[in-house]
Amino acid sequence: MGRFIVRRILVSIPTLIVISFVIYAILALAPIDPLSQFGADPRIPPEARENIRRALGLDQPWPIRYVKWMTAMFTGNFGVSFMSHSPVIELIKQRLPNTLAVVGVAELVGIAIGIPIGMVSAIKRYSIFDHVGTTFAFMGFSVPTFFTGLLLIILFGIKLRWFPFIYDSTLQIHDLATLTQQLRQSIMPITVLGLFNVATIARYVRAEMLEHLPLDYVRTARGKGLRERFVVLRHVLRNSLIPVVTLVALGIPAVFAGAIVTEQVFRVPGIGDLLVNSIGTGDIPVVATVVFIFAVLVVMFNLIADLLYAVLDPRIRYS
């Protein structure tokens, strides 16, 4: 198992290198001048602009710039933002925890609610619960996250005034009052993303359990007199969850896409919000780094899913 983990981690490194190359190539080959915003000031004379270009190394061919960027990144140097003139790594450090918190909690919500819903739906197939559950799941992944967000804002933020609908990023948690305030302002973003996760997971779990329920081993388990609870939880659910892990892993880019949108709707200062704002201001170093961070996150979650898969399925022995 240990060797498998190491091997699997080593495999993801070349993937990340290729992805970083793709990102850099897109940025470098784009017909847009990285200095267009930075050096837009008409007071900067052309010679000075040329000097800035040379100082930034922009006179070199892009594959060389890529290698330099890549090697600098390994030492934790992600460059400097054109806009705030602070190191990109500082911006990421400020914002990444917010994104991970929202995505992580939403994922937990999805697992905690989605699995039971899918399970009961499958066991009591065609019952009222199943119909309501499946309809809900269908709606959950047909509705765009930004629309759910806006609806929640209209309903709970404006009409009922239960929750604040603009995320206060300056909030410091130092006592119980500020903690509840933080929880209150996190509820809506997490709900939006959580609903999407619940819907997807419930649907997958239901479909997989329905595949497994009529199989012979389930009949055997029942036949030897096991309690129904035991049959469902120990035999059917366990086996059904294995493919669910893969399906959930494949959906991870969609979850991060949802996070970008959610952060935008509620003004949560995460890296998705940073990306959209940096694109708006043409802050190329930040854009490149954030897209790369998203790639790292996707690859990392895929890795976790693969490891979980190996833990869940004893038949899989990677040699």
Binding site: M139, P144, T145, L150, I260, I279
Partner: protein, 310 residues
């Protein structure tokens, strides 16, 4: 799939003798009609498509007449969906936006399906290509799709706008990037089908009589892959519409004067406290379209699945 029909002929000779002969698609349609929600989806989707295509001819209010006297008004007989901050009619804009959204969805999926089927067939049929092509697919699957879409659109928007004009340029770009970043599931699906089908006797028979690879792929295997691809395509249209509206919602879709559904929501979000109708109508339209497409996909899957038609 054809085998299902044969089984039925074998078991129910009398019933079949009385009925007209049934084809695969006739069978599928028969099954599909019994899926009530899929039929509802089909009806709603047809209404939406016909509405967005014919609507502007019947509902003749222009989409871009500015009138500040009626700015930000709720639904009224004159303006069934209300008006925006410039007093433009939102029903007219939503109808126009629907054309764009649905066109983007269909075209993007066409690109994704073409790419996915090509790569999947090659990987599944030719053993030598399998590993490199699937590595390539895995790589694309671990790309952060939405961030990349945003970056690509930001970087190439002006060039394409200059080359093809603001609307056509952005349309080409959005459709291409969505298609190019969504072919992977189709490729995996097609490859898996190819891997199992190429072992089957009918392929062996075709090869034995000397059919070239091209003919085996196009005449013998691909038609059998058609139904799962069709299901994936249906659901893909919904996904592409969602992606386009997300891009527009983040301000990186079509230019402001092209009112796609996502764009309407993007403009609406700053007025959400005074004009919730502005966001609710286009949002409901996206939701309804995608929901009915997904139900149709579900019904199609059931209808084309030979295991369930018995």
């Amino acid at each position: 799939m054809a085998t299902t029909t044969n089984v039925r002929v074998g078991t129910l000779p009398v019933a079949n003798a009385l009925r007209p002969p049934r084809s695969l698609w006739g069978d599928a349609w028969y099954q599909f009609r019994r899926h009530r929600l899929a039929m509802a989806g089909l009806v709603v989707l047809l209404l939406l498509v016909v509405g967005t295509l014919a609507g502007p001819f019947i509902y003749r209010t222009p989409i871009n007449v500015i009138d500040f006297k009626i700015a930000i008004e709720g639904p009224s007989p004159d303006h069934p969906f209300g008006t925006d901050d410039l007093g433009r009619d939102l029903l007219a804009r939503a109808l126009w936006g629907g054309r764009v959204s649905i066109a983007v969805g269909l075209t993007a999926v066409l690109i994704a399906i073409t790419l996915g089927t090509t790569i999947g067939s090659l990987a599944g049929y030719f053993n030598k290509l399998d590993n490199p092509l699937m590595r390539f697919t895995d790589l694309f699957l671990s790309l952060p799709i939405l961030p990349l879409l945003l970056v690509i659109i930001y970087l190439f928007r002006d060039t394409l706008r200059a080359a093809f004009g603001p609307e056509v340029g952005i349309f080409i770009m959005i459709v291409t990037v969505i298609g190019v970043l969504q072919w992977m599931p189709v490729a995996r699906l097609v490859r898996a089908q190819f891997l199992s089908l190429k072992q089957k006797e009918f392929v062996e028979a075709a090869r034995a009589v000397g059919a070239p690879d091209r003919r085996i792929i196009f005449r013998h295997i691909l038609p059998n892959v058609l139904s799962p691809v069709l299901v994936a395509a249906t659901i893909g249209v919904g996904g592409a519409i969602l992606t386009e509206s997300t891009l527009s919602f983040l301000g990186l879709g079509f230019p402001p004067d092209v009112p796609t559904w996502g764009r309407l929501l993007y403009d609406a979000q700053n007025y959400i406290d005074v004009a919730p109708h502005w966001a609710i109508f286009p949002g409901m339209l996206i939701f309804l379209t995608v929901l009915s497409i997904n139900y149709m996909g579900d019904g199609l899957r059931d209808a084309l699945d030979p295991r369930k038609s018995a």
